[in-house]
Symmetry: C2
Subunit: 200 residues, 2 copies
């Protein structure tokens, strides 16, 4: 295998295993040893590719977590079509399609936020970028909805955007506490009513 290719591949393997272990067990409690055990490589390989665990954490956030949120929650907002319908499908379809694994472990971004956002400024910044991008996408969509007459002009796009995000992230955490989907379905009902009410 080519050198550059091999290097990139190894970095990606470490990145993927890290994301999985951070998601399942948290960032701080996942050691470099455990990660490298999962990759079937050794510590020497890790510190050849990453200069510290902190650098790895930042890479996981900006490359894995950001991508995941973007693909699942942000990119769909820019599709063509009725704004309200896009809002509904993005939020409702996604939350309904989560496998048990994702329900159990919550939102990777939210886990990071609540575990290490107040811990170091670098993590704070990397996570903030994701929220800012999401927020911007939602505001743009709501504005679009107003322009195309599917959303009330009286609503504040900024307020709705952050209220949608907050509730979504909140429920991803709360769902962890339960062994069934009852609480999730109540949230879905709440979300449906909320979207319904901003319609024109």
């Amino acid at each position: 295998m080519h050198q550059g290719q091999k290097s990139e591949l190894t970095k990606e393997i470490i990145l993927n295993k890290s994301f999985k272990l951070f998601y399942e067990n948290g960032f701080k409690t996942t050691s470099v040893d455990k990660i490298m055990e999962a990759t079937k490589l050794t510590k020497g390989a890790f510190y050849y590719h990453y200069k510290s665990k902190k650098e790895l954490g930042l890479a996981v956030i900006s490359l894995k977590v950001q991508r995941r949120v973007h693909e699942g929650m942000i990119a769909p907002l820019y599709k063509s079509g009725n704004a309200v319908e896009i809002l509904e499908s993005t939020f409702l379809d996604r939350i309904k399609s989560f496998p048990l694994y994702d329900k159990k472990h919550g939102c990777p971004m939210n886990n990071f936020i609540n575990e290490i956002a107040d811990y170091e400024a670098a993590y704070q910044l990397a996570l903030r970028k994701i929220i800012d991008e999401w927020r911007a996408g939602l505001i743009a969509l709501i504005e679009r909805g107003k322009a195309e007459n599917s959303i009330k002009e009286s609503v504040s796009s900024k307020a709705v955007a952050i209220y949608l995000i907050s509730a979504f992230e909140g429920i991803r955490g709360i769902r962890k506490l339960y062994d069934d989907d009852i609480i999730l379905e109540e949230y879905i009902a709440g979300l449906s009513n909320y979207i319904e009410q901003i319609k024109k």
Copy 2:
């Protein structure tokens, strides 16, 4: 000092310092050593009063976290008066009155939820009890609002209750990412509009 009194006092000192350190630095990364350093006592004293760090964690959740949420968010729901006004004052007044310290470190309950809820069933249960109590209080208040004709009968109490809680917990995490209150004020606007819309 009396024996029983002294014992209880020591347990409480450990409990208070633990809560503070868990809140500021997380549960897993706060060691028993650090806690006892803060209390000016030693490890021997800790393991005389608590059989493990896990037992301490559960005590902090049920005695400190639960009490805090109860006093700040649940007890006010049962006061007499207009249901909508109580909803507004409870949520809005509380979030507006948070000191910087609380904004920086988020919600103690939410931190616990996202750090260790999927880690052990005992923690999950202890935290679930808090959410269940909060949820029940909100549902009762909303039902009361319907009865006294201040809240629309068409809204689902369960759905509104969990949507309010989710958004509140969500924003407590997200606020950690920012150095100012802009995002918080947008949330407040969103919350105000949300409450406005369930009024009769």
